[in-house]
Amino acid sequence: MSRLIRQGQISSDTWLPPAADAPVAPESHLPTLNQWQALAEKTGSAVQIEPGDGINELLPMLAAISLVAVNFPLFTDGRGFSYARELRQRGYQGELRAVGEFLPDQLHYLRRCGFDAFQFNDESRLEEGLRQLDIFSEHYQGAIDEPQPLFRRRS
């Protein structure tokens, strides 16, 4: 059982990290993009994408997928922010989970890009992450959580 932040609170989950070497994802392990592509039945499927994977392969099946995990192997690699934003812009409505080495003070911005679940490799960061989630109340820039930039909301 791993702990994570989901829908603004700490909760738990049974998915295990991908076993990338296996041709087929073992039971309970998140499929890699390759393993996911090999799935015969994608309705209700889950997948974990890595920096460099991009989201193009997922686009035809967005309505069928129920969980996309986006891995951040390093906090300095921001490509996952774009993946989230693109997935939401193209209409993905399932769970969008950041996993890996992102930092608590990135949670607020990850959520702005469309993430609704956050699973740190280091679970001791969960409480701090939760505190950071609502650290700012207002933004200049439009994003997934509030597409209208501030200048369109000023009256």
Binding site: P51, G52, G54, L74, T76, D77, G78, R79, F81, S82, R85, E86, Q89, Q141, G142, P147, Q148, P149, F151, R152
Partner: protein, 354 residues
């Protein structure tokens, strides 16, 4: 819109990716550029995590196509600027309350004063610029007195500059990437009083745009990244070209010095660029020619093997002798270089020192 430019360890001139963009599309277009970078950039390698690296790797055409593709998804969306927002942003950039002055009378009075006091006249000619508002001039304050680290001001000088800004230029003092300061809106009739105060504080060196107006990074004296010192090199060059007649005869020359390849001194875009390098634990200096920060931006070309610190002033001297012997009429250093290329400079410099 240009993208993919930058200095540092990989100097690149930016490429035009969009010839003309309506201003309301500015934010969405920038977002598309960043999206493409975030999708395809080398975020795995901190030395290659740069837009310029991506533009080079993809090629300008492919980069532009990718930006256009992403832009189509956000174009005309909520990020599109409204007239009201543009007007609101503009409202922060207002002109100061200029006084209506008789431009011709002010110019005549200034000219008379300059004629009566040539040292003042020289400063006006070298360190001030014509202004779009009649009766005003823009003043560059040189922080390039020989013997002072380029761009340094003391606390007292800075206090004085703040007071001068209040007295003479609507309370605004600008710092520049050339490591000087600017009082942008000074009435011509006040220049003499301003100059007297600047002169008393050692801030009236009449060398703006000349070879002693060096851009120089802190270098090995202060910076832990540096491979070599840069301030003593700047000082030696300033000392070498102290004769004002010769300085002005050489005309506009931008000489930029960086103590390492991170290029804080912008050596790549100096007409003459000097880069400190580490050769087996000793400090050496590589010289490049022909860089430019103008609209015809250019990255300088390396002259050849590097030099020891003591040799640098002689080498610069040789480069400038070569220029003087080759220039035609009013040609500047950069114009001569662009006409004759690097070879004549190379021949002269390496014959002399070896």
């Amino acid at each position: 819109m240009l993208a993919g430019g930058g200095l540092g360890r990989t100097p690149v001139i930016g490429s035009v990716i969009n010839e003309w963009l309506e201003k309301r599309h500015l934010l969405t277009y920038l977002e598309a550029i960043l999206r493409v970078y975030n999708q395809h950039g080398r975020r795995d390698n901190k030395y290659k995590a740069r837009i310029k690296i991506l533009v080079k790797a993809m090629g300008v055409e492919a980069f532009r196509d990718a930006v256009e593709h992403e832009w189509a998804l956000v174009k005309d969306g909520p990020g599109t600027l409204t007239e009201e927002e543009i007007a609101r942003a503009k409202s922060f950039f207002t002109a100061p309350p200029y006084v209506e002055l008789d431009g011709e009378a002010a110019a005549a009075a200034l000219q008379a004063r300059c004629a009566a006091e040539p040292i003042f006249g020289n400063w006006v000619a070298r360190n001030t610029l014509a202004h779009r508002v009649p009766g005003y001039r823009a003043v560059s304050i040189s922080l390039k007195a020989t013997g002072v680290a380029p761009g340094d001001v003391t606390d007292r000088q800075l206090e004085l500059l703040a007071d001068l800004a209040d007295s003479f230029s609507f309370g605004e003092l600008r710092t520049t990437h050339q490591q000087n300061m600017v009082l942008a809106d000074v009435a011509a009739s006040e220049l003499y009083t301003l100059w007297q105060q600047l002169q008393a504080a050692g801030l009236a060196t009449p060398n703006i745009g000349y070879i002693t107006d060096v851009i120089c990074c802190p270098g090995g004296d202060y910076c832990s990244l540096a491979n070599a010192k840069s301030i003593p090199v700047a000082e030696a060059i300033q000392a070498r070209f102290e004769d004002l007649d010769y300085l002005y005869d050489l005309g506009p020359i931008e000489l930029n010095i960086s103590g390492c390849m991170n290029a804080c001194g912008h050596h790549h875009i100096g007409h003459i660029g000097i880069l400190g390098v580490d050769k087996k634990g000793a400090e050496f200096y590589q010289i490049s020619l022909g860089g430019s920060q103008s609209k015809q931006a250019a990255i300088g070309k390396i002259l050849g093997p590097s030099f020891s610190q003591e040799d640098v002033p002689d080498v610069v001297d040789n480069i400038l002798d070569t220029y003087v012997s080759l220039r035609q009429e009013e040609e500047t250093f950069l114009q001569t270089y662009n006409r004759v290329g690097i070879e004549p400079f190379k021949e002269r410099v390496y014959v002399k020192t070896h």
